[in-house]
Symmetry: C2
Subunit: 291 residues, 2 copies
């Protein structure tokens, strides 16, 4: 959190608009971002507007010396390489970051790959930050974000979802569930939130979901042992589209522990789709009685 | 369980081979089955070999009087209308069993619809049985069912799956998970086990699953509050095909609490696919430490 204005921050940039949103936010605060743009992922046109270097995934040495030359001590992984489909990334990174210690880390399971990669950066003297640390304004705020607030039934669905996620968290199971009329209809595995919502939309099309559209919620929460620096739950415009297509009435996520990408667009989309969007107090998750 | 040989048993028959397997098993034991064959579901050619009546879904009155005339006191719902895709059934039944008390029951959520329908039969003096009560030989036995037994890694995956299912059970969440190298990759929602396994096969095709094929297990267990008479986890040849297609190394389910449909075919298929198939002691589930 201590980001002296004199020290530039290194952003290792994947695809999407998020790196530029983060860079703009840093600049607005008087912090110089240095984009390490990943070949094949980062948007070249937009990268050109910022102080940047092009690097390939796996060019660990080049990354390190460029970041050092730029005087960056704090470094962030950012962009669609790591978010929202973290698993894809890990696959790509694995093939190129072939350092023996990463390979060894892999053997133990693949849940904490970026944590291991981060450790290698840290061994070189860098401080790895989460996006939420350098741009806290990207965090989901608490309360009703939309014109519509959840009604009593939706609140009960949210509570049911939070309770279920709380009991699953120790097992490192998915970050999200869909709850309709107190029934847990879908649980997120490694497929991701959007794929889970698409599944619900399909079940509805096939007549497997008897409830009317306009019922049920998406509930999202971080897993207990999640390293929020690299795998924070994130929501954005696409989530809203999927929630609407799944025929749900709204969504809820943990305030302060969820990245809200393109917050204005996202909330406007939710309002237009007549969905509610709720930032839930983190205490609600930890105080949830798992039965 | 008390099935006096003198009293015939009513089988309300949906599709698939299961009703006939059950009828044969009853006959072998000297019990007369009476098939109430559901129009559009039961296999007419095979029905013809048994004492039977054709009924339409929703002909509750006709069902009751026929069963009474036949002297059946014990009645079982059986066949692919209710299993394996229970949700489909409920949908169909809902449209036709329009009795107000069922409609009322529906309002409270749809998890126990068959329990409510059963109650209506019970109000008429019938005793509703589960398939496991009238043909206990259809229950999954305990131990190694296949030539291959789970290795240490697979046993750890089974334990992880059982622990996760145990913590989810109070929330009435899916009956199954896929665990690969201690990671829970997929959780069953209302889509059913086969659809979940198809999802895992897809994730593998898309490169989202980095583990080699021939790793990981399907773990299946009944939910805590499940009425085993109407919604017992069931496994059969199709499950094995899906497990193989998902690139897993085997499957485990709770002995005595899982229906094993066409057991010889199923086990032979598993052997041919070089999968293990494990009947787990129910104690393993209840003694599982959910963290």
């Amino acid at each position: 959190m201590s980001t002296p204005a004199s020290q530039p921050v290194g952003l290792i940039c994947g695809g999407g608009a998020l790196p530029f949103a983060a860079a703009d936010a840093l600049i607005a605060r008087g912090v110089q971002p240095v984009l390490m743009a990943l070949n094949g992922f980062a948007d070249a046109q937009r990268v050109a507007h910022y102080r940047h270097h092009w690097v390939a995934i796996g060019q660990f040495g080049r990354n390190v010396s460029l970041l050092r030359n730029e005087g960056c001590r704090e470094v962030v992984f950012i962009g669609s390489l790591v978010r929202p489909s973290l698993k894809d990334v890990r696959f790509d990174l694995k093939t190129l970051f072939v350092l023996p210690k990463i390979i060894a880390a892999f053997r133990g399971g693949d849940d904490h790959l970026l944590t291991h990669i981060a450790r290698i950066f840290e061994d070189e003297g860098f401080v790895m930050r989460g996006l939420h640390e350098i741009v806290p304004e990207f965090l989901l705020p608490q309360g009703h974000l939309t014109n519509i607030a959840p009604d009593e039934s939706a609140c009960a669905d949210i509570a049911k979802g939070l309770a279920a996620l709380a009991s699953m968290a120790p097992h490192d199971i998915g970050q999200a569930v869909v709850v309709i009329d107190r029934n847990i209809v879908a649980v997120e595995g490694i497929e991701g939130t959007d794929a889970m919502l698409a599944r619900v939309a399909n079940l509805r099309k096939e007549g497997r979901l008897r409830s009317q559209t306009g019922r049920g919620v998406l509930v999202k929460a971080p897993k207990t042992q999640q390293d929020l620096r690299f795998d924070m739950p994130s929501l954005g415009p696409r989530t809203i589209e999927h929630v609407a297509q799944a025929g749900l009435v709204g969504l809820a996520a943990i305030a302060g522990h969820t990245l809200l990408v393109e917050s204005q667009t996202t909330i406007a989309l939710a309002d237009r789709a007549r969905l509610f969007f709720e930032g839930v107090d983190a205490v609600a998750l930890s105080s949830t009685n798992p039965s």
